[in-house]
C-alpha cells in the first residue's frame, strides 16, 4: 500500500495511509501516515466503535492539509487493550499468521506466480 501511496503522490495526488504496522510503512517511506496501534486488520478504528472510527478518519483528513512535508506520521490515541499479550503473540510459531487452508492457499498462489514469472508472463 505504501508503494501505491508513493506512486499516486509522484503523479500529483495527495494521499494519507492508515495502518497498524508502523515499522513497515515508515521503512518504505510515505508522505502522510496515521498509525493506530491495533492488531493488523483495523487501521481505521475499533470494530463496532463508530466514535473511534470517525476520530481516526478525521485525523487523517486533517493531515492531508496540515502535513508540513513527507514522512509525517500521526499516532491515534487509542490503545487496543490494557492486556498487550497480542503483541507478544502475533507472528510466532505458537500463533502463525496464516495456518491451515489459508497457508496452503498462500503457498499455492506463490508457486503459481513464480511459475508465471519464470515463463515471463507475470
Amino acid at each position: 500500500m505504501s508503494l501505491v501511496a508513493r506512486y499516486l503522490e509522484e503523479h500529483g495526488i495527495p494521499t494519507v495511509v492508515f495502518g497498524c504496522a508502523r515499522d513497515i510503512v515508515e521503512h518504505c517511506g510515505v508522505p502522510r501516515f496515521v498509525f493506530t496501534d491495533f492488531p493488523l486488520g483495523n487501521p481505521t478504528g475499533r470494530p463496532f466503535d463508530p466514535a473511534s472510527q470517525r476520530h481516526i478518519l478525521s485525523l487523517g483528513l486533517e493531515l492531508l492539509g496540515s502535513a508540513p512535508g513527507p514522512r509525517t506520521t500521526v499516532q491515534s490515541p487509542y490503545e487496543w487493550s490494557a492486556d498487550t499479550t497480542w503483541k507478544a503473540r502475533v507472528l510466532t510459531r505458537e500463533q502463525p499468521f496464516l495456518d491451515g487452508a489459508d497457508k496452503a492457499k498462500w503457498l499455492e498462489r506463490k508457486a503459481a506466480y513464480k511459475e508465471l514469472k519464470g515463463m515471463g508472463t507475470a
Binding site: 505504501s2 501505491v4 499516486l8 493488523l40 483528513l61 492531508l64 503473540r89 502475533v90 496464516l98
Partner: protein, 164 residues
C-alpha cells in the same frame, strides 16, 4: 508497550520456518509529496484498500481475480452499503481481532457522512482494491498505474489508503 516490529517478527518467523532469505521490505530514501490543492471541504476523495472486499452474493464476478496468480486489482461501487460487503483478506491478526465491521478498515459510512456534512466535497464513484503483492515490481508497474488512471478519471483531489 511499544508497537510491534513486524519486519523483525516476520524475518524471525520465516527463518524459523526454514526460509533462508528474508523478505526485503521496500525502502526509499526519498519520499514524494504533493500538497492538497484546495481546502478539504472542496476536495473529492478516492479510497484505496488492501482489504479484498467482495459484494455478498456477487462473488462470481471476482472469480477471475481469485483464480489469477498475478492477483489483479479491481474496483467496487463506493455507494455499496457496508452491510453488503465483506473482506476475504486472510492475512490479518485473526487471533486478536475481526474484520466483521467494515468501517474498522474501510471507512465508507464515515466518508459518506462527511460528504453529507459538507466536510468534504464528494467521493469517487468507486473504491479501489489492491492486493498485498509478492512482487513490489508488479505493484509499481501494474497496480499503482491502474489505480492512478482510475482515480484520475474519477477526478479526485486526494486519496485515503487503508492498509489492512
Amino acid at each position: 508497550m511499544s508497537h510491534v516490529r513486524y519486519i523483525d517478527r516476520t524475518r524471525d518467523y520465516y527463518l524459523g520456518e526454514g526460509y533462508a532469505t528474508p523478505y526485503r521490505w521496500a525502502h526509499f530514501d526519498d519520499v514524494p509529496f504533493t500538497r492538497l490543492p484546495r481546502p478539504l471541504a472542496e476536495c473529492r476523495l478516492g479510497l484505496v484498500t488492501t482489504s479484498e472486499m467482495v459484494i455478498r452474493g456477487r462473488e462470481s464476478e471476482l472469480e477471475h481475480v481469485e483464480n489469477d496468480p498475478t492477483r489483479p486489482g479491481y474496483s467496487l461501487p463506493m455507494a455499496t452499503p457496508t452491510t453488503d460487503l465483506y473482506s476475504r483478506k486472510a492475512s490479518y491478526d485473526k487471533h486478536a481481532t475481526t474484520l466483521d465491521d467494515v468501517d474498522a478498515y474501510l471507512p465508507l459510512t464515515h466518508l459518506h457522512r462527511l460528504v453529507d456534512e459538507r466536510r468534504i466535497a464528494g467521493l469517487a464513484p468507486r473504491f479501489q482494491v489492491v492486493h498485498s503483492q509478492y512482487s513490489q515490481r508488479r505493484t509499481l508497474t501494474v497496480d499503482a498505474p491502474r489505480i492512478f488512471a482510475e482515480l484520475h478519471e474519477d477526478r479526485v483531489d486526494a486519496a485515503v489508503l487503508t492498509a489492512v
